[in-house]
């Protein structure tokens, strides 16, 4: 096999790492080549799976993950142990599925790609242990179609694991059977929403499903199903292998969240990249010490802590701590923890126009506020960008921020779309006002009138 430089090569391959402090990334190679089975096992790989399958009862694994405080790493941050605990206790419901959400499409998110391209066995091991805990007999990795190298590497890792008796029937003599498949998607951001993902896996249009029932009760093909993000599942082996006390010692004391997180900074910073860091470091540390601050000639105008669906923050908010509650204190969500620096050369109106074009295009069209509201916001933002806006436009946008907000749509797509819009208007209102045509008639009413 020819040596190919993976696109996920970056600073995570180069910083000092240790098994004790970097459970996700310590096995990465400096040359970013994939870690195959032999090397993975030399680096203590599958030791946690052996422990889980031979020494631990299924309920013990669930309890360990619950006690660790592990939270979902896909952006929503729901406690993983609690989600696992929702699976039915009824033993007669013995067809259960574990799905890995590897549909990484959130703008500014490039963490799962690195794990899957370079450490495919870490995900396989994480899924094996998790499947054992959840009594799932089959797992699917729902991978976006564009991650061609991740698909190749995951499939090779699965073949290696099968040949070594780590997947298939009677794994490691435990009597536990588990088979794992890679399912590649065909586009559409909405597939990352967990119930849309289930519909897509079933070969349907990826519209979200009504909840309840939650997937733990009625999931893929009507069976109990657990959907976890790649990075979440990759945390499981170290938690099971090293224990809860060790895991809880990883984060900074100021953090309420536990463990490490793949955090990043992109935009016109000196050293854009991805690093495994403890929860509770400040955004300033991430921005200045790791990303190196802004490139010469650019100043930081604002930043987003974790993906397109999180709100904008100002440079003064960089002292916020990177964990859910820390970012919550300054008014938005941590999301994926991969931050974007917006520099002073960028117009907020144009940036939001770009973002809302994306959200409008990727709306599945299932519910009206999202299907109609997002294109409306695009129309207004394009007008403001051309300096042809009307006096009412900003009020209309704020009305949309309200009407498309949490609890008013079928899924979290539209709330995610309007969170950055609301914060951009809050902090940079004058830029939006500057898009109003100079000849525009003054607003007849300051009130937002629904169409």
């Amino acid at each position: 096999m020819s040596i190919k430089t993976l696109t996920s090569i970056g600073p995570a391959n180069k910083i000092a790492r240790s098994e004790e402090s970097h459970p996700l990334t310590w096995r990465l190679r400096d040359d970013a080549q994939p870690v195959w089975l032999e090397e993975y096992q030399q680096k203590n790989g599958y030791a946690a799976a052996r422990k889980a399958l031979s020494e631990m009862a299924q309920a013990d694994i669930v309890q360990t993950v619950k006690d660790s405080g592990l939270k979902g790493r896909g952006g929503a941050g729901f406690p993983t142990g609690v989600k696992w605990g929702l699976m039915p206790a009824d033993e007669s419901m013995n067809i259960r599925y574990l799905l890995c959400n590897a549909d990484e499409m959130e703008p500014n998110t490039w963490k799962d790609r690195m794990l899957m391209e370079q450490l495919p066995h870490l995900l396989v091991e994480g899924m094996l242990i998790s499947a054992r805990a959840l009594k799932a007999y089959r797992g699917y990795i729902f991978l976006r179609g564009e991650y061609v190298d991740a698909a190749t590497n995951l499939n090779r890792a699965i073949e290696e694991a099968k040949a070594a008796g780590l997947l298939g029937k009677n794994i490691l003599g435990s009597g536990f059977d588990f088979e794992l498949f890679v399912h590649t998607g065909a586009g559409r951001y909405i597939c990352g929403e967990e119930t849309a993902l289930i519909n897509s896996l079933e070969g349907r249009r990826a519209n979200p499903r009504a909840k309840p029932p939650f997937p733990a009760a009625v999931g893929v093909w009507g069976k109990p199903t657990c959907v976890n993000n790649v990075e979440t599942l990759c945390n499981v082996p170290a938690i099971v292998g090293n224990g809860v006390d060790w895991y809880k010692s990883l984060a900074r004391p100021e953090s309420e969240d536990h463990g490490t997180k793949l955090m990043g900074f992109s935009g016109k910073v000196k050293n854009p990249g991805l690093w495994e860091l403890p929860f509770g470091i400040s955004a300033r540390e991430l921005f200045e010490d790791y990303a190196g601050g802004m490139r010469d000639g650019y100043t930081l105008k604002c930043w987003q802590p974790g993906g397109a669906g999180t709100g904008f923050l100002l440079p003064e908010h960089l002292d916020a701590l990177m964990y859910a509650g820390g970012i919550g204190k300054v008014g938005t969500r941590m999301g994926t923890g991969l931050a974007l620096a917006v520099d002073d050369s960028i117009s907020m109106v144009s940036l939001l126009r770009n973002m809302e074009e994306f959200f409008a295009r990727e709306s599945c069209g299932w519910c009206t506020p999202c299907r109609d509201g997002l294109p409306w916001s695009v129309k207004i933002l394009r007008a403001l960008e051309r300096k042809q806006g009307t006096q009412q436009d900003i009020d209309t946008l704020l009305g949309l921020v309200n009407f498309l907000g949490p609890g008013k749509t079928f899924c979290a797509h539209a709330p995610g779309a309007v969170e950055p819009l609301g914060s951009a208007i809050k902090y940079f209102r004058s830029e939006f006002e500057a898009g109003v045509a100079s000849s525009a008639a003054p607003a007849t009413t300051g009130q937002f009138v629904p169409a």
Binding site: T109, T184, A186, G187, G264
Partner: protein
């Protein structure tokens, strides 16, 4: 055989028949799932891989194998952005249009492509060499702007590098 008329309406004259290889590949995929329907997206991708796009008749042929209505297959085919229901170029350029690539200047890369190839997003060159499409964040954000040409991913793409990038794809 397919023809494109002046009004750009596609007339498909031949009856669509799945090749044996396509048929076998779809049958193989079906067995990875509890329900054959789950293979519908993969079946469309199998057809597209062999032919570049998915002609009208494919929905009937796939529906027949999977035991589901052709309208369901068509519903899936038109939902997913990476299933092409009209002919595309020999090479697909997917330009990431996430806000990170916007900050990195992807619009100037798209403008340069338009200058060199005479096509905008969603269009195919007259010689059927390239189709240019926008794509959701490619997960290459530390190397923005990013794009893919077929299965190859490129980072830190700047307008002055576009000509050299395209050269390799004939």
């Amino acid at each position: 055989m397919t023809q494109t008329t002046n009004s750009n309406t596609l007339i498909q004259t031949d009856r669509f028949i799945l090749s044996e290889a396509e048929h076998a590949a779809i049958e193989h995929e079906m067995h990875h799932y509890e329900d054959p329907r789950a293979a519908s997206i993969e079946a469309l991708k199998i057809v597209q891989k062999a032919r570049g796009w998915v002609p009208d008749g494919a929905a009937d042929a796939i529906g027949e194998i999977l035991g589901i209505p052709a309208s369901d297959v068509e519903g899936v085919a038109t939902f997913y952005s990476q299933i092409f229901r009209q002919p595309v170029g020999r090479h697909i350029i997917r330009v990431c249009d996430s806000m990170t690539c916007y900050v990195g200047g992807h619009e100037s890369v798209v403008a340069e492509m338009h200058k060199q190839l005479g096509i905008g997003l969603g269009e195919t060159t007259h010689d059927s060499r390239f189709t240019l499409l926008p794509v959701c964040c490619l997960g290459n954000c530390d190397k923005a702007p990013a794009l893919m040409i077929d299965d190859d991913t490129f980072g830190d793409v700047q307008p002055d590098g576009v000509a050299k990038l395209l050269e390799a794809y004939v």
